[in-house]
């Protein structure tokens, strides 16, 4: 790559965002990971095993599907990157495969993770079953209720699922509990963070694991006869599927990058998770980033219909890309997302996760030239969200 947009500096900063803002209690763990992650990722044996598992266990490359009916409706050439077809049903497994291999190299015996929608929890429980490691998943009590099928899957996979009962009982609180658990048993335990958030080196490490998405998009598009897309669109919770989708195009300025946050009931409603619009600079979960907070610096409780986007922060890469105007960030409401999800179901026979439905909702919000080439990250499948869709249809 000519320039280096997309990589943090040696201290883990993207501009003023990032870093490792952690209590001294976590210094040892983070230091060990920081010292070793690139070394491990660059060994031939790691690469071989990672690529083998992505191909034969996850089922990569995931298809780049030309969505004919959707394209006709929106007068564009719309492609869907089918991360929903991965084993376990979302992009999250790209990262958990990578991190479990790192954990093994570091001789860790136990894994902890947080989860919102349960997709990252399932992906973590899955690789722990595969590798025979003990697994504790922290999940907000509210999310256990609204993503019951994923809760059941994690238990069946042998993970212990611990409800987080503080705050809004969602992803932020699950992350707090996971970090506390890590402080309480640090040296034998690896924490598999599920997005491009957390202290350095997590944002960079997770971005690298997810960058397989854009690497594949590049070669798959050229098979369709396109050099590069005009638009790349992805939803943003912490921002990992977006980071992975954008990564290999960050230095292709003609490709417009669009991140879609969850507006919940509406930006002004007080029930929203559109961090980049509503947030201010601060510190959350070990990095300096933009976060939703009150005037006293207390973290405010977000809302989204989608458990995976219901988070008051965002990975530090994204506010950086926003500041340098490399990417644009918009938002979609609960209602707009559900409607976009139902539309994809009817037109293409694909039921998307509510998270991914936010990315689809962007089709109504962006002005693109006729026949523009648009790639949307379909980050996950909607099986876990059937009840929420059903409830909406009943209304």
């Amino acid at each position: 790559m000519a320039t280096k947009i997309g990589f943090p500096d040696s201290k883990g900063y993207y501009g003023k965002y990032g870093g490792a803002i952690i209590p001294e209690l976590l210094f040892g763990n983070i230091h060990e990971l920081k010292k070793n992650y690139l070394k491990i990722m660059n060994t031939p044996s790691f690469k071989k095993e990672f690529n083998f598992l992505l191909k034969n266990y996850v089922g990569r490359p995931s298809p780049l599907y030309f969505a004919q009916n959707l394209s006709k409706k929106y007068q564009a050439q719309i492609f869907l990157k089918r991360e929903d077809l991965n084993h376990t049903g979302s992009h999250k497994i790209n990262n958990t495969i990578g991190q479990i291999l790192i954990a093994k190299k570091l001789k860790k015996t136990k894994i902890i993770a947080e989860t919102g929608a349960g997709q990252h929890g399932v992906a973590t429980a899955t690789v722990c079953a595969l590798m025979g490691l003990e697994c504790n998943i922290y999940m907000g009590a509210k999310d256990i209720e609204r993503q019951a099928s994923n809760y059941a899957r994690m238990k069946m996979l042998g993970a212990q699922v611990i409800p987080a009962t503080s705050g809004s009982k969602t992803l932020k609180d699950a992350t707090n509990e996971a970090i506390r658990a890590w402080i309480n048993e640090p040296l034998s335990t690896h924490y598999i963070i599920g997005s491009v958030v957390g202290p350095a080196p997590y944002p960079d490490m997770v971005t690298r694991f997810q960058s397989v998405i854009s690497k594949e998009i590049k070669s798959q598009l050229s098979e369709y006869g396109f050099k590069k897309p005009d638009f790349l669109i992805a939803c943003i919770g912490g921002g990992s599927n977006a980071a992975g989708t954008f990564f290999h195009f960050l230095n292709e300025p003609k490709t417009k990058l669009i991140g879609v946050e969850a507006a919940g009931l509406g930006i002004e409603s007080g029930k929203s998770a559109a961090t980049l619009i509503l947030g201010r600079f601060g510190v959350l979960h070990g990095s300096k980033t933009i976060l939703m907070q009150d005037k006293d610096g207390q973290i405010t409780e977000p809302h989204s219909i989608s458990a995976g986007l219901d988070y008051p922060g965002i990975g530090p890469l994204h506010p950086f890309l926003k500041d340098i105007k490399r990417a644009q960030y918009i938002s979609a409401t609960d209602m707009e997302a559900v409607e976009a999800g139902l539309e994809l179901t009817k037109l293409e026979g694909i039921i998307p996760a509510l998270e991914s439905a936010h990315a689809l909702a962007a089709l109504k919000k962006i002005a693109f030239k006729k026949n523009a080439c648009v790639v949307i990250s379909l980050s996950g499948r909607g099986d876990k969200d059937l009840e929420t869709y059903q409830n909406y249809l009943k209304k």
Binding site: L25, F27, G167, R180, I183, N184, L187, V283, I299
Partner: protein, 244 residues
Amino acid sequence: MKYNFFFTAGYPKLNSTLQIIDALQKCQVDFIEIGMPYSDPLADGPTIQESSKIALNNGMTIDLLFKQLHAIPFKLTSKLILMGYLNPVLQYGYENFCSQCALNNIYGLIIPDLTLEDYKQDFKKYADKYNIKLIFLITPDTPKKRIIQIDKASSGFLYIVSSTGTTGKEANLIDCIPFLKSLQVMKLRNQKFIGFGIKSKDQIDLLSPYIDGVIIGTAFIKALQGKPNLNKAIRNFVSPIVQN
């Protein structure tokens, strides 16, 4: 032996702050550490989390705490330390915060997620300007070289975490004695205070050959829980510990 007792500002009642300080002073404690409640206290276990939540619901803020401290009607005989997480302090503004600390007789600060590196780069200039001491943490897992760096940056005292974990975790304090012995030979410039899991006189006697002071937090908050007579509860818990 020196004693530092921790409580959360705004707990159990919004206006408990001065009463608790007064009662602690009457027991002749050396330091009083006042927690500024935060919505997401990552290094704290359930007891301090709960006290923070109640304090925030009661309406405690950094501004209000400074107002309360400003109105202390009695003479301060103990040293006051503020403890809190970085984000609220960052939003308050580092300089503004340090100047308010100076105006309100704050001796030092404990900010667990202010890293040594960020302190040197962004915070130290204001701490120095207003003469506020920064107390940093070390744990039995902190490498020797880093302990020396942290000791250099710290003033007031050095906060030794008895075993790596969140506050209030059961700790087997005998296990940290080898670590405390290793610190003795390092000839650190700061006094050494130990905290996390300290709750009884017996434990303190066991550790006393190796340390200069103790920090008691979770156990003290528990002693306040549901007590209608705070003065009495504080006296009953603190006096037996502090008396020699």
